[in-house]
Amino acid sequence: METTEQIRDRLLARFPGATVTLVTNPGPAAEHSLLLGAAHAHAIALFLRDDPALQLDYCSNATGVDWPDKEIIDVKKLTVPDPAGGAPKIVEEKTKRMDPGYLEAVYHLYSMALRHGPVIIRLRTTNRSDQVTLPSLTPVWRSCDFQEREIFDLYGIVFEGHRDLRRILMWDEFKDYPMRKDYVDPDDYEWEPTPHAEVLDRAKQHYPTPPPAAQPPDGPSVASAKEGKP
C-alpha cells in the first residue's frame, strides 16, 4: 500500500483546492493520519473508496475526540546581564495564549478487497460551541451510520447529510454531550465508606457540612434494637 505521504500528494494533485494535512503519530504504532478540510471531505472520501489502487471499501471505525480549549504557557528564557557586574541572570518570561479547542471525527479505513489498511482520516470542527458541523460520510460508507449518530450523541458534532441524525445511546430529551471532557454529571453523589481522590472532592461538594452520624459509638446496637425495649 502507498504511504500516507503518497496518498496525501495524490489527493492534493487530484483536488487542487482541498486542504489535506499529514498528522504524524509519534507513538510506536506510527499510524499517521490525514486531516481533511470539511469542504472537500465528501469528495475525497468517495475518491478513497473508489480509487483502484486504494479501494478503501470498508470504514471500520468512526469516532469522535474532544480537544478542549487549552491554555498554553510559552516560556522564553532571557539572559539579563547583572548591573552589579556579576554573572548574567536567566529570567523566564511567560506568555499565555489560548489554543482554541475543537471536536474531531476520526475514521479508520481498510480495504477488504485488497486487504490493506488502515488509512486514517480526520475531520475537525472550527470550535466546540456553535460551529460544530461536519460533512457526513455515511453516504460513502454505510457503516458510519450508527457511529456518526453516536458521535452526535456523545460529542455534539452535527453531521450534514446524515439521513437520520438522532441521539442513539441517550434519550432524546437529554441536553448534554457526556463524552466531552468538560461534562459535569448530575449531582447524585452517594455516600461511600472510604471516599478518596475525586470521590472525596465530590463528597465535600455534596455535603458542605458533614451530616450527623447515624450510629454514635455508644448508641443502641443492632442486637439490642432487635430485642426491643424491656
Binding site: 441517550m170 441536553k175 448534554d176 457526556p178 454529571d185 452517594e190 452520624a213 459509638p217
Partner: protein, 243 residues
Amino acid sequence: MSDPQSTPAPLPGDRPGQTPAGQQAGTVQPFPAAGNISDAEREELRRHGILLTSLEELYNWGRTNSIWPLQFGLACCAIEMIAAATARFDIARFGAEIFRPSPRQADLMIVSGTVTKKMAPQVVRLWNQMPEPKYCIAMGACAISGGPFKQGYNVLKGIDRFIPVDIYIPGCPPRPEALLNGLMELQKQIRAETLSGPAQGRHLRPEMPSEFPVPEYGAHDLQPPKNPEVWKPTAPLSRPTKA
C-alpha cells in the same frame, strides 16, 4: 382476621423441646388451626396419614415452591441467571424454573444487571405491572449500587432508588449458586410471612403501595432521580472516635 397484638401469642402446644428433628429449632411457626396439638403429635398424625395444617401454612408452602421469575435479563448477570436455569445448577429444584416473559404472570423480578437511567423507567413499569404478591431480587453489584459502573453518567446507582428490594445478591456477576442461595433466602422470607399480625406479608397490608411512580427522562438526569418514599439510605456511619 387482623391481629392487633404486636407479638404473636404463644400457642398452647408450643412447648420447648418438642420440635421435630427436621424442623429448625428457634424458628417460631404458629399454627393457629392446629389448636392444642403439638408439633410432635402432628408429626405422629402425619405418619398415620392424617395431615393437619393451617391455611397460612398451605398458602406459604404453595407460594414458596412456585416462585415464577420474570424472564428479564439486563446485562452480564442475566447469563448467570440462564446458567442457573440450565442442567448443572437447575433452578427447577426450587420450583422457580418457569421464567415468564410477561410481567403479568410473574412473582419475582430478578434485576440481573446494570440498570441504566434509560432503562430505569421500564424496570419500574414492569414492576408496576406485576401482580401482588411480588418480590424483587437485586442480582449483582450493578443492580445493588451501580457496581463497577457507578461513576457512569447513565448508570442508576441501585434499583432500590425506585422499587423496594427484598434480597440483595452481591457479586460481579454472582455465581449461579449465589442466585440459588438468594432464592432460598427469599423462600425463607416468604415462609415467615403470616396472614395477620406484624409479620403480615407486604401484599396484605393496604397501606403498602404496590405501584411506584415511573421516573421520566429529564434534560440532564431522570426526573425525579430517586424516589424518596422507597430509597432511605443509611446516613454515613462514623467511626468511633479514639478515646
